[in-house]
Subunit: 379 residues, 2 copies
């Protein structure tokens, strides 16, 4: 089994720095401290070619980090890249191929070549749906309508995800949005994909996050602050949304979570908090059910009852989530693991969850095309 022993972040947002600089900014504190120990480097990144005209990012970064002899690769799974990268790191260590792995997740999505970001991201959609003009945001709107209708969920409950996550983000110095928003502001903001409004979607972001992963045996030699990955699993759903039945369940999330809890020997009810993939507000609700934290159709009630607030009985997205922290594609899954590490080791500052012993994160690709679930325990 493996543990996370260090985490480092850049501020997410619209940044002037280029892709390599952003990667360095989160990696440098770990590189300075652990350069001699790192024997594998993984960069979690999806769109360096499309946004930044760069390929071979892993090799450019090892040179930049003065870690020229350290083997490396890029792991990509669109929005779920970070989860896949951590899964690969876990396997490399457990199989004895590596001992101590630096993972840097990074994406630079603003500025650049002027191509429309929505169309770049839409390149992950099933061709038949893409040519019908469907985009990731429109799928969010579609799922919101279906969910509200099927489970009689209130419109406000969805908006409350944005209110909660913006409040959490305001307590996270690395978050893109630093200001709380009111329910009224969310409900009156610009419509993006009916019924969802602009505050209910993650922004386009630049940013980077790095973690150091090592074996449980090595972990104490690095730090006394250790978050152990006790369960980890990946699963997929069809990338053709219209082929899903029911559409309000994301099988990739359900199956990855089931397996991760099974190999952790733990239950959802034991978790103290979770980081979920809230690209749109509705996704946080649906995932909170599919991961097993609430019964199907009841995730929305948890919002109304403030159960998932920072001070609630089961805080979700303490970091601010993608919704408020931002979503630099390749960085998000790594940043989730980093947030869980901070929470479990008591380093989450103003947004610290009390008595956090078990944490969960869900890194998702596309609109639930693929997911990797993680169960963590503090040592």
């Amino acid at each position: 089994m493996v543990s996370i022993v260090a985490a480092s972040f850049t501020k997410f947002g619209k940044r002037d720095d280029d892709l390599l600089s952003l990667a360095s900014q989160s990696a440098d504190p770990l590189v300075q401290k652990y350069r001699e120990d790192v024997d594998f480097f993984i960069v979690s990144n999806s769109y360096s070619g499309e946004y930044n005209g760069i390929s071979g990012l892993n090799n450019l970064l090892t040179t930049r980090f003065s870690m020229d002899d350290v083997p490396s690769m890029r792991v990509d799974n669109t929005s779920g890249s970070g989860g896949s990268a951590v899964l690969v790191a876990k396997s490399l260590i457990e199989s004895g191929m590596a001992r101590n792995i630096l993972i840097t997740g990074v994406e630079k999505m603003t500025g650049g070549n002027g191509k429309n970001s929505t169309s770049i991201i839409a390149s992950l959609l099933h061709n038949e749906e893409r040519i019908s003009g469907i985009s990731l945001p429109s799928l969010g709107g579609f799922l919101a309508k279906l969910y509200m209708e099927e489970f009689n969920a209130s419109r406000e409950s969805l908006a409350m995800v944005a209110v909660k996550n913006h409040l959490n983000g305001s307590k996270n110095p690395y978050a893109q949005f630093q200001k709380p928003v009111t329910l009224e502001e969310v409900m009156n903001s610009k419509i993006i994909a009916d019924p969802l409004r602009i505050f209910e979607f993650c922004p386009v972001s630049d940013g980077s996050a790095s973690i150091l992963v090592t074996s449980d045996e090595n972990a104490p030699s690095f730090s006394s602050k250790i978050a152990k990955i006790i369960g980890c699993a990946s699963a997929s759903s069809t990338s053709s949304l219209s082929a899903r039945n029911p559409m309000t369940t994301i099988n990739a999330v359900k199956n990855a979570s089931l397996k991760a809890f099974r190999n952790a020997g733990a239950k959802p009810s034991q978790m103290d908090f979770a980081e979920l993939h809230d690209m749109s507000t509705i996704l946080e609700i649906v995932e909170s059910e599919d991961a097993g934290f609430f019964k199907k159709g009841e995730g929305w009630k948890a919002l109304v009852e403030h159960k998932t607030d920072l001070k609630g009985e089961f805080p979700i997205n303490t970091s601010g989530g993608l919704n408020s922290k931002g979503h630099p594609i390749g960085a998000s899954g790594v940043a989730q693991a980093g947030e869980v590490f901070l929470q479990l080791t008591g380093m989450a500052g103003q947004r610290q969850v009390e008595n956090a012993n078990f944490g969960f994160s869900m890194s998702m690709a596309g609109f639930g095309n693929s997911s990797t679930a993680f169960v963590y325990q503090v040592i």
Copy 2:
């Protein structure tokens, strides 16, 4: 430890089919046969965004293969992607995260958006070298000059790599070039990067290769034709070529090979043949030394003495190599593993090496920025 139990190829070359079709063409025979057994899918691909306007390729392919519930990811390491993908598969299996993995390497580089292929590939170069107008071919020319000067190597010895590999390619139905070339034709062909000529570089290619990787224990239940990976290691060199000293040694190749032989408990002299990364003729020679098959500065003599011919004492690039088989970036490393599988299991047809018990392959990223070495044994 893990084994390869099946391999499948498309013809490499300028193909009319799109990226997803090419991937399907090599994967389908394995999918038809093993769909129920496969529990992880890895696509080895570098440039789906740049050339094909596609992201999330792994998820689109699992849907296309009717393997919607199979978790997946994309592994990228530019020209060395295939080696990294096999290394990840090995780790996933050995760590118990997966049992039977389908790997498909694919690239569709011709046609498409009209961008210049050389400039897309040059996006992997160190910025300072790229802005000086350096490209991958120009590095080949530069290395050729240095090598010839340092080791008093004959100009013809380099060209003989192309003659040998085109002859081998003419015996490989999947190779892009199906015709032998003479030494005169090579030496009189168009200069690309002085002193190297067009026949001495791999072409721009489309194509795909797929393999099925499983644990040694499971392997016999799939097939009686089994190639076991007995050693595997990855290593890196600086991506800044001007910082290498000496420039005629590729540390990534040297270190990956050393480690792979060490963990195989085998020696270079035990190998019966090798697949090397001959993006340019000079690279085959330099790698044949750095991997330990010939002394430094003597690899060129092996060509003159016909030692590396198909009927020589140590055949190199029996498949035709990148030089003649073609080099669809993400597919090449997977195709190398596939060629070794065919040779070790006696299925290499007209290009079969007699008494092939041990094989070697070298998957290389960029111009030696990163390498993954494999040592195989037939079971």
